[in-house]
């Protein structure tokens, strides 16, 4: 069925509906990753957003049991050029169309996605809606809609839970955790406790963690309460700490740096990231609209460890006094290049070293 995508600036795109036939609102962004659509649409960092894929054919790899980044899609809408059909079998458990239907997420295909992306590249992300008819009423509705800024609250756990292992004890502070992080911790057989971001310092410290992870999450970190920053300021002095994505941004804020919007949002895995200390270049999944403002960094507290060589954006920070560091990109390779997982190796080596010296 013919449906329409309306952008806040009044631009209208026509396409055919798939997934749920619902009307949807969200902030629209574009993604250039050529693989990993299932991981991307289930990643909580995209809570409340609509994603346009540059990859023209989407769906041919089906929906896999092992490629969920959360149990349901986080997105509000999906816009693609061509939607592929697959058979459901032992490996491809479901097809994309049915998956989105089950979770009431609408999609639009046969859209000139290249035109849409070239448009969004100029305007930046905007509010958007997928509707049946692109009439004045739909436009009014879109203009009147206020999108939530409570994405972390929507996606992060409310209660602590454990993901037991026999290795080091790692506490994860959850801001909208993706499964990839737990999978990586599992690779190191870590004994994981996932705690809500509202946890107190004492609650963390009574667990006596060997290491702490500030998880990924959606939205703007500045919409979170200041208590989170206070928590980080204490925790970074107590055990090795790794911030990822939103966790990185919070780590920066906790150490008095500020955030600035990127000249253009970046969602993809094609930018070279350089580890400054070794000059090594690698690639990783990235999804960010903001970056730590380079000029705001107090060099007495923090130094920059990774940079995006395309836009120069800060991709990693490290504390001068504590074994605490953070990365803006996603090192869990779900989806994305495996070379980025070296960050977890770094973290666990730091943890081992810390345990060695503090036991």
């Amino acid at each position: 069925m013919k449906r329409h995508l309306i952008l806040e600036d009044g631009t209208v795109f026509e396409g055919l509906g798939f997934g749920a036939p619902a009307t949807t609102f969200g902030e629209i962004i574009f993604h250039t990753a050529m693989t990993g659509y299932q991981e991307i649409i289930t990643d909580p960092i995209y809570d409340g957003q609509m994603i346009v894929f540059a990859m023209p054919v989407i769906g041919a790899a089906g929906i896999h049991a092992e490629a969920y980044e959360s149990v349901k899609p986080a997105i509000r809408g999906m816009i693609v050029h061509d939607l592929a059909e697959v058979s459901v079998n032992r490996q491809r458990r479901m097809n994309l169309d049915r998956f989105l239907k089950q979770h009431n997420v609408p999609g639009l295909y046969q859209v000139d996605t290249r035109k849409l992306i070239r448009h969004l590249r100029e305007t930046g992300p905007q509010k958007a809606t997928i509707v049946d008819f692109a009439d004045d009423h739909a436009v009014d509705q879109l203009v009147a809609t206020v999108l939530t800024n409570k994405q972390v609250q929507n996606t992060a756990t409310l209660k602590p839970y454990a993901n037991p292992g026999r290795g080091r004890h790692i506490v994860v502070i959850d801001f909208g955790l993706k499964h990839g992080i737990l999978r990586m911790l599992g690779d190191y057989d870590a004994n994981v406790s996932v705690l809500p971001y509202t946890t107190s310092v004492d609650e963390v410290l009574t667990l006596d963690p060997d290491g702490i992870i500030l998880s990924t999450g959606p939205g703007d970190p500045r919409s979170l309460p200041d208590s989170v920053l206070t928590l980080i300021r204490v925790l970074q002095t107590k055990a090795p700490l790794l911030g990822i994505g939103l966790g990185h941004e919070l780590f920066a804020l906790a150490n008095d740096a500020t955030l600035a919007p990127l000249s253009s949002e970046h969602h993809g895995m094609n930018h070279p990231i350089q580890e400054i200390i070794s000059r090594q270049i690698f690639f990783a999944m990235q999804g960010q609209g903001y970056a730590v403002d380079n000029d705001s960094i107090d060099r007495k507290k923090l130094f920059v460890t990774y940079r995006d060589l395309v836009d120069g954006a800060v991709q990693g920070l490290r504390h001068r006094e504590y074994p605490a560091f953070s990365v803006q990109f996603f090192p869990d390779a779900a989806p994305g290049p495996l070379e980025a997982t070296a960050v977890f190796a770094d973290f666990f080596e730091t943890v081992e070293d810390y345990v060695e010296h503090h036991s």
Partner: protein, 833 residues
């Protein structure tokens, strides 16, 4: 900044074209030589191929010599070569350089340094067994052979390697049959039978990979160990069919991120293991049901995958590769302004789909009465390929098919109904070149997709896609003149010609109907950021969407129609001709636009034309580009008769590059063919020389050619190089021949492009450039002076053009001898002793 000290750098060329060796190497060398000169070094090239463009490049000192160890050593000595670059000449150059190094003796002085790979690695790369065990030691998933004698050992291997297995005899006494064991109960029989074939009663057991998916990754690595993926492709056809003969899709569509990331990781490990400074092609066997991956081949040099990836992604693979070889770090590579500033270090992303379709020589051979084995297997049978670009798989497939066949008449899924069900199943299991049609036919007959996928080992995705195509065509066929049907058909790449056939009209009516209803092609830029950044794109492909990105280049544009895929015969020199034409047009300061669809020659190099359309070359495709670019002239190879007529009919200014529709037969063993070669500038005819052609060899007769009076009075309106042909009974090379009365037993034809290329090199006269100038009335005084005396220019040529030794028996198993002139694939040269 380069970290290599080099003064005199030698490229080793790839030599004559052959199966699996088209013009990609020559194109790569042609592209990178000027870049290398930018590094402040003297560039040298040795190659033997008369069709080589690089040998005519001004960026290097060219040495036109047969590729032998002796010649390479002599060149190194003569030109004080201190650095050798074998990675751009493919497998053959690599082998030659290894042999040269091994044959190096103390008295030869220091061995020149090798760029890209150390000598030690080079030697290992040339030894599959050593290479495999090196990769196995590094923990990489390679297929290892296990030897067993006792049944218990075999049983252990059964548990260790898991089904399916391949069992064969070690030291076979005669025939060695490979047996694939898929079920446990077949195991013992297979073991016993293999044992009985072995002189030592020993068997080799390995994992069977037939039927797995074949996936290729292209990656690069710099001297600092930085690595990047350039692209990937998946073959529709499973392992068991040579990858060159497979229909292949890029980007990969059916593989999950997890599997692809694992392959990327392995490819990076291989690059590290080789300490490579350059590009690497890794071929994998993949079973995505069980997440099994094997590395089946690695090629740490430029090959067809490298040139294909350069074309389909828009990433300048070759220019980056030469910088890597010169020891420039990835982030420090500076590309010319033709490319984005940070393009070299960004992984290319694609927002389009490409389908590579192999071209088989079966049809042409069959017409000449030569029958060959058409069954596709692990030995390459295709001689070329085309690439279709689109925004869906179907659109890309349709365009690849149209590129391959020039017209759709021979290819439509709706006209395949003759074979019986049994024959159909047999052919599905043992595919031939027409398998895409068969797949469609099988869907049409109601076979279940999952059933077909299992039978053919082709991913269901492709069957769903072909099913869509079938449905679309049937619907469109029934809705003659429907605007909606037309709109849908165009979206999926069906051509005006095919629609015209469905609706029993001609393509012009379809074009008019589309135009009246605003169904116009939109040209999309092909650039490696997939829309993320504003691009300075020069490459475009047509699709039917909302936004067109292509604007006319200029008001003095010349459009050049490429020659498409390589085929047997003179077309192998077509890429040479098109490239020279583009180069000459640019020299004459025209703006140039090229249309072509072949990744394996130089015609589509990014900086060779002002704009490139990666499109099929049917009249409707050409007219869509013409409507946008409004060229002042269109240059078309003379063999495209129908296209020329159609364009002329549409009042276009067509300039014809003389070429015969079909390549003529060569002389047989008992005959000698003579040719009086002449040039026409459109007004006058000038004699060039006389050539003598005996089977497998062509030489210039050392005498001054004169124009017979009848010919002097003839008017050859279309400028170009022509030849008067006659046969004579002689089996000796002659020093003089009388031109017979040309009104009897002789005929006039355009000189085949291959001979033009040869002649241009021997005479140092650029005949195709001259032709272009004549076509555009841009001849100079010097041109005229040269032509008057050109017959006195070269009387003592010591070089002959010889047919190269192509192993037709291995590749095609023909029933009769194949005429190497008519069905030529490659040629070489020979110098007089």
């Amino acid at each position: 900044m380069s970290n290599i000290t080099a003064n005199n750098v030698l490229f080793i060329g790839a030599g004559a074209n052959d199966f699996g060796r088209e013009a990609e190497y020559d194109a790569a060398i042609y592209q990178v030589m000027p870049e290398l000169r930018g590094h402040g070094v003297n560039v040298y090239l040795i190659d033997e191929n008369p069709y080589s463009l690089s040998l005519e490049s001004l960026a290097a000192t060219a040495i036109w010599q047969p590729l032998t160890v002796e010649n390479i050593k002599a060149v190194i000595k003569q030109y004080q070569i201190d650095t050798v670059l074998p990675l751009f000449g493919g497998e053959r150059a690599l082998r030659l350089w290894s042999q040269t190094v091994q044959a190096w003796s103390h008295g030869d002085g220091p061995v020149p340094q090798t760029l890209g790979l150390t000598i030690d690695m080079l030697l290992r790369v040339n030894n599959v067994a050593v290479l495999t065990s090196m990769m196995a030691d590094a923990g990489l998933p390679v297929i290892t052979n296990h030897v067993a004698k006792a049944q218990e050992d075999a049983n252990e291997l059964l548990r260790e390697i898991k089904l399916p297995l391949m069992v064969r005899a070690l030291h076979p006494n005669q025939a060695n049959t490979r047996q694939i064991v898929e079920r446990l109960d077949e195991f013992e029989t297979a073991v016993n039978s293999a044992k009985s074939q072995s002189m030592t009663q020993e068997i080799v057991i390995s994992r069977a990979i037939n039927g797995m998916k074949e996936v290729s990754l292209e990656v690069l690595r710099d001297f600092r160990g930085n690595k990047m993926q350039i692209g990937a492709s998946e073959d529709m056809d499973p392992i068991g069919i040579h990858t060159a003969d497979s229909l292949s899709v890029s980007p990969t569509l059916t593989l999950s991120d997890q599997i692809l990331e694992k392959m990327r990781f392995y490819a990076f490990q291989v690059a590290d293991l080789l300490d490579l400074r350059g590009v690497l092609h890794v071929q994998f066997a993949v079973d995505d049901l069980t997440n099994t991956i094997y590395i089946i081949k690695i090629s740490p040099y430029i090959d067809q995958m490298a040139s294909r990836m350069a074309l389909v992604t828009g990433y300048p693979v070759m220019l980056v590769a030469i910088n890597l070889a010169m020891g420039v770090a990835l982030e420090e590579i500076v590309l010319s302004h033709d490319f984005g500033k940070k393009m070299a270090m960004m992984e290319p992303m694609m927002d389009h789909v490409t389908v590579k379709l192999p071209i088989f020589p079966f049809g042409e051979l069959e017409q000449a009465g030569v029958s060959v084995n058409r069954q596709l297997n692990s030995i390459q049978k295709s001689v070329g390929s085309t690439i279709g670009f689109g925004r869906t798989f179907i659109e890309a497939l349709e365009k690849a098919i149209r590129s391959a066949h020039f017209n759709n008449a021979s290819f439509s899924p709706t006209n395949m109904s003759h074979s019986s069900d049994d024959a159909l199943i047999q052919q599905l299991i043992h595919p031939e070149d027409n398998r895409v049609l068969l797949l469609v036919e099988a869907i049409k007959r109601g076979y279940e997709i999952d059933e077909l996928a299992e039978l053919t080992n082709i991913d269901e995705f492709f069957f769903y896609q072909l099913g869509h195509l079938l449905k679309l065509e049937l619907e469109v066929e029934q809705q003659a003149d429907s605007v909606e049907a037309l709109r849908r058909a165009k979206k999926y790449g069906l051509s005006d010609g095919l629609l015209a056939r469905f609706w029993q009209t001609n393509f012009k009516n379809i074009a008019t109907l589309a135009h009246e209803n605003h169904i116009e092609p939109t040209f999309k830029a092909l650039e490696p950021s997939a829309g993320e950044f504003p691009e300075n794109a020069r490459q475009y492909y047509a699709t039917y969407e909302e936004e067109n990105e292509s604007l006319p280049v200029s008001d003095d544009t010349v459009l050049v129609i490429g020659s498409g895929a390589f085929r047997m015969g003179d077309a192998a020199a077509g890429g040479y001709a098109t490239t020279i034409v583009l180069s000459e047009l640019r020299r004459l300061q025209y703006h140039t636009v090229i249309m072509n669809n072949n990744a394996s020659d130089a015609t589509l190099l990014q900086n060779l034309a002002d704009k490139q359309y990666l499109e099929p070359l049917e009249i409707s495709d050409v007219m869509k580009v013409v409507a946008l670019e409004k060229p002042i002239a269109i240059i078309v190879p003379g063999n495209r008769r129908k296209l020329i007529d159609a364009l002329t009919d549409l009042k276009q200014n067509v300039l014809i590059l003389p070429k015969e529709k079909h390549v003529p037969n060569g002389p047989d063993d008992t005959e000698t063919e003579f040719a009086l070669n002449v040039f026409s500038d459109g007004h006058n005819i000038y004699p060039i020389n006389i050539t003598q052609h005996m089977t497998g060899e062509l030489r210039i007769v050392p005498e001054i050619a004169q124009l017979p009076i009848q010919l002097a009075q003839t008017h050859l309106e279309n400028p170009g190089v022509y030849q008067v042909i006659w046969y004579q009974d002689t089996s000796e090379w002659v020093k003089h021949v009388d031109v017979p009365d040309i009104s009897h037993d002789t005929w006039l034809r355009p000189m085949p492009f291959g001979q033009v290329a040869f002649m241009s090199k021997v005479m140092q006269v650029q005949w195709l450039r001259m032709t272009v100038r004549a076509l555009l009335s841009r001849m100079t005084l010097q041109d005229n002076e040269l032509l008057v005396n050109v017959n006195k220019l070269i009387l003592q040529a010591d070089v002959a053009m010889i047919a190269s030794d192509i192993n037709y028996a291995l590749h095609l198993q023909p029933t009769q001898t194949i005429d190497g002139t008519r069905f030529e694939i490659g040629v070489g040269i020979k110098y007089d002793e």
